[in-house]
């Protein structure tokens, strides 16, 4: 016992250490799956046409955009990793749960009615689906990638750059890169498209000057197939406050009516210039704390930069924003 026991016990301890190491190594990073070749145009079209059907999955967003901490922004806008649990049903049914370490926000729609729940305030907001501006939370990779392909098609090179494995499923890597003449902060946008269902599974935004992604949103786990219908309805729990969302006219988005936006340039280096107009002062965060003071022939103002874009707020109430460096913003203001 004493002779053989010690080596065995030591081996057990080492096995535990090895197990710990195996647990810590991230899964995936496997070989690139073999898939039949596809042209970029075909791939984009199949994505826009695809009807992936019901699915359940987990989406993880790794944010390194370097956005300044503004009051009122959701916690997911700050740098870091956030998770969403997503369910999609047959007809415009969906459920998204955003867990944090000790609370959760839930968004549910059955196609006609939507509910939102916040465990911190125990408030349920409900309303009819038509009143909800936009199509669900922007964290859904399908929507996010589709919009990007539509908007950036003209001034970019589009290519299929090999394959990848995302959430255990083989996928094509669609790469959208700006033409060399575009003066943008972005380097490329990579979208992993599921080979079978043609649904975007992962969106990666890469900026100039950094090998690490500025933003990576993707499924870590997805399963297609029929979902429990009970997931797409919501009964306010006892003890909660239920508010009915005011019915909004479609197209009347917040902040849009009294701001006149004009776009200078097009493609990746487009700059949007807006007149701030007569907005309530409460809507403007205290810029003195987050921006740097800049001035030039166009006037003076505060510049707020992030990894993927810049915003210039001038003292005379103009706002210029784009995925561009400061110089392009100031040129757009002088024009």
């Amino acid at each position: 016992m004493r002779r053989f026991g010690r080596p065995v016990a030591a081996a057990v301890a080492v096995a535990g250490l090895v197990g710990l190491g195996l647990l810590a190594v991230p899964a995936g990073a496997g070989a690139q799956p073999e898939l039949p070749p596809v042209t970029p145009e075909e791939l984009v079209r199949s994505v826009l046409e695809a009807k992936p059907g019901p699915f359940a999955g987990t989406v993880e967003a790794e944010n390194a955009l370097g956005l300044p901490a503004l009051p009122g922004l959701p916690a997911a806008a700050a740098d870091g990793t956030s998770t969403a649990r997503v369910w999609a049903g047959d007809e415009r049914q969906g459920r998204v749960q955003l867990p944090t370490s000790d609370s959760e926000r839930t968004f549910v729609t059955d196609g006609a009615t939507f509910w939102t729940w916040d465990s911190d305030t125990r408030e349920v907001t409900t309303g009819s689906r038509a009143a909800q501006p936009g199509r669900g939370p922007a964290v859904d990779p399908a929507t996010a990638a589709g919009e990007l392909i539509d908007r950036l098609g003209g001034s970019s090179t589009l290519a299929v750059d090999g394959t990848a494995e995302v959430a255990g499923r083989p996928a094509y890597e669609l790469v959208l890169a700006p033409q060399p003449t575009e003066r943008t902060l972005l380097r490329e946008i990579r979208i992993a498209v599921d080979a079978e269902k043609r649904m975007p599974l992962r969106l990666v935004v890469l900026a100039n000057g950094s090998p690490d992604p500025a933003l990576r949103i993707g499924f870590t786990d997805v399963a297609f197939g029929p979902q429990d219908p009970a997931l797409f309805t919501f009964t306010p729990p006892p003890g909660s406050t239920v508010r009915t969302a005011p019915a909004e006219r479609p197209g009347n988005r917040r902040g849009a009516p009294n701001a006149q936006v004009r776009t200078v340039g097009d493609g990746w280096d487009a700059v949007h210039v807006a007149e701030r107009g007569a907005q309530a002062p409460g809507n403007i965060p205290d810029l003195d704390r987050i921006g740097t003071r800049v001035s030039g022939p166009w006037g003076s103002g505060r510049l707020i930069t992030s990894v993927v874009g810049s915003v210039l707020v001038t003292d005379d109430g103009r706002i210029a924003a784009g995925a561009v460096p400061e110089q392009v913003l100031t040129e757009a203001l002088t024009r």
Binding site: G5, G19, L23, S101, D102, P237
Partner: protein
């Protein structure tokens, strides 16, 4: 007579039956005043949280976070109390039990008696580990049971249901299942702490070293996890998975975090057990 002499040496090595050993250890652990004091302290945790929430609930709206979720929703109280206690209090209790088990006996000079007693070394380790297990299980059980009782009596419950963090409601039976899951998961994490503490305990003669090592380890893990440059270290730290306890309050129940942290605890448990056995097989009093 010949039969007796033939089984004689084997009997001296095998010694007393395991059941009797474990029974003796159980009595010894549970009769110790400090164990009883700790269990009473753990019984107070849900009572204090429940009373605090009930008073705050009357004064104003529900607070934020897990404690805030307890207001008017008493069946969440045991889970909240377990999560709060797991941060420091429960590891402290387990470390104390493990410190007494080997280092404490060594310091008091009684380990010598155990080592020369007709008890195999492996059995001795099993017996001592059982003592630590009893303390860990008793502590979580006290918190869970008192949490449920206190939740129902002091805080009150939402029509016999548990409101999850996801906004759904669970019936009483399923809610009890969730509490049991939280208690079992917490016990698993504590066993990992206990195994490592027992390993330290087998390496030293000073019980305080065990307490310092375990509490230091928990605190340092928390500090390391807060340093962004060391984020690669997080998957190796036991404390990384400790926020998964709140997952039992989500619906549908996500098992990823609970499963992963349990596997990690299992690895720590195996390492601790291996080191303890390897050391105790050779240890002289």
């Amino acid at each position: 007579m010949t039969a007796a002499t033939a089984t004689g040496p084997a009997a001296t090595v095998r010694g007393a039956p395991l059941g009797r050993l474990l029974g003796a250890e159980l009595r010894w652990v549970l009769r110790r005043p400090r164990t009883i004091a700790f269990l009473v302290l753990f019984a107070l945790v849900p009572v204090v949280i429940g009373a605090g929430v009930a008073i705050a609930d009357r004064a104003g709206g529900p607070g934020r976070g897990l404690i805030g979720a307890v207001a008017g929703n008493g069946l969440v109280l045991p889970v909240a109390a377990l999560t709060v206690s797991l941060a420091l209090l429960l590891p402290l209790a387990v470390a104390m039990a493990a410190a007494d088990a080997l280092a404490g006996e060594s310091a008091a000079g009684t380990l010598r008696g155990l080592l020369v007693a007709p008890v195999g070394r492996l059995r001795l380790v099993v017996m001592k580990a059982f003592g630590v297990l009893v303390v860990a299980a008793a502590a979580t059980l006290v918190i869970a049971v008192l949490g449920v009782l206190c939740g129902l009596v002091v805080v009150g419950w939402a029509e016999g249901q548990m409101v999850t963090l996801s906004g759904t409601t669970l019936g009483f039976g399923e809610a009890m299942g969730r509490v049991a899951l939280a208690a079992a998961w917490t016990t698993g994490q504590l066993l990992a702490v206990g195994a490592v503490a027992l390993a330290v305990s087998s390496l030293t003669e000073h019980p305080l070293v065990v307490l310092a090592a375990v509490l230091g380890g928990v605190i340092v893990s928390g500090v390391l996890a807060a340093i962004p440059a060391l984020s690669w270290l997080q998957p190796y730290l036991l404390t990384t998975g400790w926020s998964a306890g709140a997952d039992v309050l989500r619906d549908p129940l996500p098992l990823d975090g609970l499963g992963e942290s349990t596997l990690r605890a299992l690895c720590y448990l195996v390492v601790g057990a291996g080191v303890t056995v390897a050391r105790m097989l050779r240890r002289d009093a």
